[in-house]
């Protein structure tokens, strides 16, 4: 089908950037927050408007400027990119609401800087989602790294400084040290960086070179948290919770996983990976991360840290699904981007709500708290079920596809990996809810009548929790997009 040329992808990227000067110069905070909302809604509308053509099978393209011979800053909206963009833009609205309440409630400083860089980060995320070639992806990937730094170090104290350093070291170090040379090599070998359905590297590089390239990309996109380059994630938890919620559960880490997906499908190609047996290599690297991170999550008492390690594991699920190189596997991986996003953001916002209401950060202190904050913990349950992959939550659909994918790829070992890690997920999530509801109260704060967090902190997680459940019953358009993407990109 003919690609549709439209400026909408560029506009979707720019709309939040355009809001930044207005944000910064706003006279009072209501105007500032109003503009944030407006930008978020506009972005979602623009992204959603791209659904009809993409669902009909067309791609939407736009080339901005050619900066090097054969390389341009260009956008291409295909099912996979649109899936990711929809998830990010819809969740930005929810997180903005949560941010407003959180920041005002805790009377945080430098809020304008916060909202401004948040907007830039979202621009970069959509930029990654809609990239038509590896260069554009790299550009927005780096912009995202830099835009999120001020957010991570928001508190500006000693801990923030160290956390920020770790964040940058891992993320910039790998992107400059691994991704950049790999990108130059790809360009040298094939003369192009445009994503194509079966990649463009086939036939230009041998097994050793190919393996090195794959490793460079998988480890180079450290935002995906593949071990051993995962340590920045727990370190970045010193950011304010709304930052953790969107960026680390949805945008930053998903950009990492998305980038790897794009490279696997659009640069290297599933066919080539299968012929070179490199899919297995990636699958085992991902499996290692899944198991180890789940084990570490079990040992964490800090709620946010437990969630962080859970995220590391879930991201590798996505990578594993893609590495299976089978249609179901790809479908599972792509749809997990959406399901995990909704589930994880619910969990993080619940953690935020708990903190705002009671100041608690550790799970051991939360025994009995469920009776005081039933809605919060019910939302937490919904999020957990989605992440574990149990009905009636949306995560079940993606995990089911992943399991079928392992069967298609004739890899019972990987199926065992998936099942056992789901079991581990249950082990570290369900007890939290169980203790909150059924154990005696831990301390005074856990006793007493129902006293939830203020509405602005309670409503967003409940909404996304409900969405997680709703996605089980109505998984479209995410599932459709995932299926379409799996077909075109998997060469099915």
């Amino acid at each position: 089908m003919e690609p549709l040329v439209s400026i909408r992808p560029l506009l979707a990227v720019l709309v939040s950037l355009a809001a930044v000067p207005v944000l910064v110069s706003a006279r009072n905070r209501n105007v500032r927050e109003g503009w944030t909302f407006l930008a978020a809604v506009a972005k979602l509308v623009l992204v959603a408007s791209l659904l009809p053509p993409v669902l009909a099978g067309r791609e939407v393209v736009y080339t901005l400027v050619q900066v090097l011979p054969g390389i341009a800053i260009a956008f291409k909206v295909d099912p996979l990119g649109l899936l990711f963009a929809l998830v990010s833009s819809s969740l930005w609205i929810v997180t903005s609401a949560f941010s407003i309440g959180y920041m005002r409630g805790l009377n945080e400083h430098s809020q304008t800087r916060y909202y401004a860089f948040f907007a830039v980060a979202l621009s970069a995320t959509i930029g990654v989602a809609f990239s038509a070639n590896l260069f554009t992806l790299y550009l927005f990937y780096e912009v995202l790294s830099l835009a999120t730094y001020p957010l991570v170090v928001h508190h500006q104290d000693g801990e923030a400084k160290l956390g920020g350093r770790k964040y940058l070291t891992y993320i910039l170090g790998t992107s400059i040290g691994l991704v950049l040379p790999a990108m130059v090599v790809c360009y040298l070998l094939s003369g192009t960086l445009d994503f194509q359905p079966q990649g463009f590297i086939a036939g230009t590089v041998g097994p050793l070179g190919g393996t090195l390239l794959v490793l460079a990309f998988v480890f180079g996109f450290a935002k995906a948290g593949v071990m051993p380059f995962h340590a920045w994630l727990p370190a970045a938890m010193i950011a304010p919770t709304p930052v953790s919620a969107l960026l680390h559960a949805v945008a930053v880490v998903k950009v990492g996983a998305f980038s790897i997906l794009r490279v696997l499908t659009g640069v290297l190609g599933t066919g080539w990976l299968a012929r070179m047996d490199l899919g297995l290599v990636v699958a085992w690297i991902a499996s290692f991360t899944i198991i180890v991170s789940s084990l570490i999550a079990l040992s964490q008492d800090g709620l946010k840290r437990r969630l962080a390690f859970s995220t590391i594991g879930q991201l590798s699920y996505i990578i594993l699904g893609a590495a299976l190189l089978s249609p179901r596997g790809l479908t599972g991986a792509f749809s997990h981007i959406a399901m995990h996003a909704f589930g994880k953001i619910t969990l993080f916002m619940c953690a935020g709500a708990i903190f705002v209401a009671t100041g608690k950060t550790h799970i051991s202190q939360m025994a009995g708290l469920g009776r005081r904050m039933p809605l919060t913990f019910l939302a937490f349950l919904a999020g957990s079920l989605s992440v574990i992959g149990l009905p009636p939550c949306g995560g079940f659909i993606s995990k089911w596809n992943l399991l079928l994918g392992t069967l298609e790829a004739s890899s019972p070992a990987l199926m065992v990996v998936l099942l056992s890690s789901s079991f581990l997920n249950a082990c570290y999530f369900l007890p939290v809810v169980f203790r909150a509801f059924f154990h005696p109260p831990f301390d005074r704060a856990c006793q007493g009548p129902v006293a939830e967090a203020p509405p602005w902190a309670l409503v967003p997680p409940v909404l996304t929790g409900l969405a997680s459940v709703a996605l089980f019953f109505y998984p479209r358009p995410f599932l459709d997009l995932a299926r379409m993407a799996a077909t075109t990109l998997g060469g099915g």
Partner: protein, 502 residues
């Protein structure tokens, strides 16, 4: 008509302006700045005019005084020349505007001499770029150098010694160049560059030519501070007055690298330099060492300006390595980096000048709270830092892209590793600056920096901030215009000259 005389005007207008400024310095110092600005504006005008002419018509040959070469001095203006001319003239002008405040503060009694030397130095640099005669180059080399020594010596108390050191090394370098040209003259009887190329062609095997080549190259390396011949640079640029260092740091070393490229392309020809002499391996190793040494030494500095000067040493390594990879991609990368680095260094030094202007200190730890208090300056510094690290869409990324590509093509993996390592080290360098500027509010307790305005630390005046932001914006503009620059100017320049480039 005037436009036909641009190549000469380029040099004459600032030269006359310098003389008038010297005069005005005695009689009416207030006129110095306007005269300087007019002189440099004339230079920018001529440079841009030339750029447009060359872009339209191709290379131009201009005879000074109408004397045909090789009797007379000819100016050969091709695509590469105009590119560098425009960059040199614009950097000089932007810096002049930005430096007015610091000059008024530091040099108010010596405005005449200072502005005169400033404009004279720029005249020398412009002349070096535009000339087509080897001896004329020497004269202009020394004009630029001497005015530079004097400018530097007007700075802090440690400046005269640093300047004398620079004088010694610079003079040795220039004299080596002169010696080399002398050997060439003996062999060919001509000093005109185009003529030299023709007459040297049959002599490519001779030891005398080899000696001449080596002597000239080493002389230029001294002048461009190529490690390990870089000893004069940190002292000279650190202790110079802000206005002088932000003029010379972006321009002087880059113009010397231009001279090296010009001589290799147009006089010795790449066929000789890379084909007959097999020196690339050695020089690329030296360049890789320069890059790493510069980056590592920058890390060790507590003084902001000194740190930036070591960064220059690393950047020179990039460019020399790029040239000596001996391929078209390598030269493209080196030339692109030359103009990109001029812009990046200008932005860095302007930002440093702003910071020093307000905090009255050059130490990195005294940058505390700068993000809150001087947001525009820090934005400029951040943009320049990101360009140096090599983040797209800043220009630094694109020249690095070419250099990385060239290194891979030529199989010089140590150069590739050095490039990547220095990017990472630059990231550490700049984020250390940002941390210092972001985290502790100046003199207050650490914590949620509420940014209360304290005495003495406010944003620099607009005359210093606006040029900085213009320079920072150019970093993005040049990045996005990379293809235009490469295809419109660099590639035509590389394919136009006597061949031998792979």
């Amino acid at each position: 008509m005037i436009s036909g005389q641009y190549p000469a005007l380029l040099v004459i207008v600032p030269l006359l302006a310098a003389c008038l400024i010297a005069l005005a310095g005695w009689l009416k110092p207030v006129l110095c700045f306007p005269l300087a600005a007019t002189g440099l504006l004339g230079a920018v005008w001529s440079a841009v005019g030339l750029l447009l002419r060359v872009a339209g018509e191709g290379p131009i040959l201009y005879r000074l005084g109408g004397w045909p070469p090789p009797v007379g001095i000819a100016y050969a203006v091709d695509h590469l020349t105009v590119l560098v001319l425009v960059v040199v003239a614009s950097v000089a002008l932007v810096n002049l505007v930005a430096s007015r405040a610091t000059i008024e503060r530091e040099q108010v009694h010596r405005r005449g001499p200072f502005y005169a030397l400033y404009v004279l130095s720029v005249t020398g640099l412009l002349g070096i770029v535009v000339t087509g005669d080897a001896f004329n180059l020497y004269v202009l080399l020394e004009i630029a150098a001497l005015s530079g020594y004097a400018l530097i010596a007007m700075g802090s108390p440690r400046a005269p010694l640093a300047s004398l050191n620079y004088l010694f090394m610079g003079t040795i370098g220039a004299t080596f160049y002169l010696l080399g040209v002398g050997i060439l003259y003996i062999q060919t009887g001509t000093l005109n560059m185009a003529d030299l190329a023709l007459r040297l062609a049959p002599l490519h095997g001779s030891p005398a030519l080899l000696v001449a080549f080596l002597v000239i190259i080493v002389g230029l390396w001294l002048k461009m501070a190529f490690y390990p011949l870089h000893g004069w640079l940190p002292g000279a640029y650190t202790y110079a007055p802000s206005a002088a260092s932000s003029l010379m740091a972006p321009l002087t070393t880059k113009v010397m690298i231009y001279v090296m490229i010009r001589l290799i392309l147009s006089v010795f020809t790449p066929a000789y330099a890379f084909g007959v002499l097999k020196l690339e391996g050695l020089v690329v190793w030296l360049a890789s060492a320069a890059i790493v040494a510069g980056a590592v030494m920058a890390l060790a500095q507590r003084d902001l300006k000194k740190m930036l000067t070591y960064l220059i040493v690393a950047e020179v390594g990039y460019m020399v390595g790029g040239v000596w990879l001996g391929t078209k991609t390598g030269l493209t990368g080196a030339i692109l980096h030359l103009i990109n680095d001029a812009a990046m260094t200008l932005t860095l030094f302007l930002a440093a000048a702003n910071l020093v202007f307000r905090t009255k200190s050059r130490r990195i730890e005294d940058l505390k709270g700068s993000f809150a208090r001087m947001p525009w300056t820090m934005t400029g510094l951040a943009a320049a830092g990101l360009a140096v690290i090599g983040v797209p869409p800043f220009c630094g990324f694109f020249s690095k892209w070419y250099l990385l590509q060239a290194a891979l093509e030529a199989g010089q993996y140590q150069f590739l590793a050095a490039l990547l390592l220095s990017s990472l080290i630059s990231a550490v360098l700049f984020f250390r600056l940002f941390e210092a500027a972001l985290f502790e509010p100046a003199g207050g307790k650490p914590g949620h920096g509420r940014g209360r305005r304290e005495e003495g630390m406010a944003e620099a005046p607009p005359s210093m901030v606006i040029p900085l932001l213009v320079a920072a914006a150019s970093l993005v503009a040049m990045g996005l215009a990379t293809r235009l620059i490469v295809q419109g100017f660099i590639l035509p320049a590389l394919s136009g000259g006597p061949g031998g480039l792979s």
